[in-house]
């Protein structure tokens, strides 16, 4: 059901646009060559392990220490991303990607008044529900995402509907829709933190 049947002109336009487009010979071969050259995916068990929620039992003292470490990570992430942004083209200045390895990137957003926060980006088809972020102490939201080396656009989704760019990361360009997005560049192997505060 296309909904255009009640308007003959729109129906004619749609019918014309549904006809196959011309394609240069060898398209499938070119795609498969690119696929074969693509970095390998994470093994299933590694992916499942990374995505599995965990509960850590910690003493109040250890909890306070963990909170301090987390705050340090947030500050360091914001500081490093800000430096990259100030340097101009921050994402490009990150470590050069190393083919064949993946890194776990921790995305962090300080949003004490948010009820829910999730992460969306071109690494998951901009699905706002696939990567919910966990609320930590003091309204800090985090999620760890394994990413192959490359450049990714992303945004935080606050309270289910509002896209928010990472305040501490370089802004993405080229989004026709005006949606605020940020850029993270993943190099090989090393863990990274991307994050800021609202």
């Amino acid at each position: 059901m296309t909904g255009s049947a009640d308007d003959p002109l729109i129906a004619r336009i749609a019918e014309a646009l549904r006809r196959p487009r011309a394609v240069r010979p060898g398209f499938e071969a070119r795609v498969m060559a690119a696929v074969r050259a693509a970095p390998p995916r994470l093994p299933a068990r590694a992916w499942a392990w990374l995505r599995e929620p965990r509960v850590l039992a910690v003493s109040p003292l250890a909890g306070a220490a963990a909170a301090a470490v987390l705050a340090g990570i947030v500050i360091a992430g914001a500081w490093s991303a800000t430096r990259l942004a100030r340097a101009g083209g921050g994402a490009e200045r990150a470590a050069a990607p190393t083919a064949g390895t993946a890194a776990v990137v921790r995305f962090v957003l300080a949003a004490p008044r948010a009820r829910t926060v999730s992460l969306a980006g071109d690494f998951d088809g901009w699905d706002r529900s696939r990567l919910p972020m966990r609320r930590e102490a003091a309204g800090i939201w985090t999620v760890d995402v394994p990413l192959a080396p490359g450049r990714y656009d992303y945004a935080f989704v606050v309270d289910g509907g509002r896209f928010v760019a990472d305040p501490a990361a370089p802004p993405a360009v080229g989004d026709d829709f005006g949606r605020p997005t940020s850029v993270v560049t993943v190099g090989g192997g090393a863990a990274r933190v991307a994050g800021g505060s609202l």
Binding site: T2, L9, R21, A22
Partner: protein
């Protein structure tokens, strides 16, 4: 690949290590992806690049495809984003009508096509705002319902309905006087 092998079966084969099974998914979803990207971007060569990019990203993220039997819908979601990132409707518009003859000459014209009518439509699409063009294509060409479009684009239903309406209104003005 058997023609009746479901997408989900092909996806599972790829995930089990049979990379070549991905070629079946490419062959099956090529035409739909290409027609969307070409209409969205207005440039045949860039449409192929966007679609290739979408296929590669889909391959790399295949394990995150929650419903392998609906691989096509998932791929379209990735492709929509790739087209957005490539910035539909800027410098490419001039190339479509001036400098892109080579790509089209190398390919046979699809049977039953009316080149002049298609060209008029492409010109009109190029004059729509990208969000309106995207909503029109998803609704009237790809046949998605508004709930599917919401999941795919992230926009809410009322906004999508308004984009489709404005696109139709504009196309009626731009194409209503074209003799057929």
């Amino acid at each position: 690949m058997r023609d009746d092998e479901p997408d989900g079966a092909l996806v599972r084969r790829v995930l089990e290590g049979d990379t070549e099974a991905f070629a079946g998914l490419v062959a099956r979803h090529r035409d739909r992806g290409l027609r969307f990207a070409a209409s969205m971007l207005g440039d045949a060569a860039e449409a192929e690049e966007a679609l290739q990019d979408a296929f590669v990203r889909a391959y790399r993220s295949l394990r995150t495809c929650r419903d392998p039997d609906r691989f096509g819908a998932w791929l379209l979601q990735i492709l929509v984003n790739r087209c957005r990132t490539r910035g539909a409707g800027r410098r490419r518009r001039a190339r479509l009508f001036v400098g892109d003859d080579g790509a089209l000459e190398r390919a046979a014209a699809p049977a039953g096509a009316d080149p002049e009518w298609r060209e008029e439509i492409d010109r009109a699409l190029a004059r729509l705002d990208p969000p309106q063009r995207e909503a029109f294509l998803l609704k009237h060409v790809e046949g998605l319902d508004y709930e599917e479009m919401t999941r795919l684009t992230g926009a809410r239903v009322p906004a999508l309905k308004m984009r489709v309406k404005r696109a139709c209104d504009r196309l009626r003005i731009l194409l209503g006087e074209v003799p057929r």
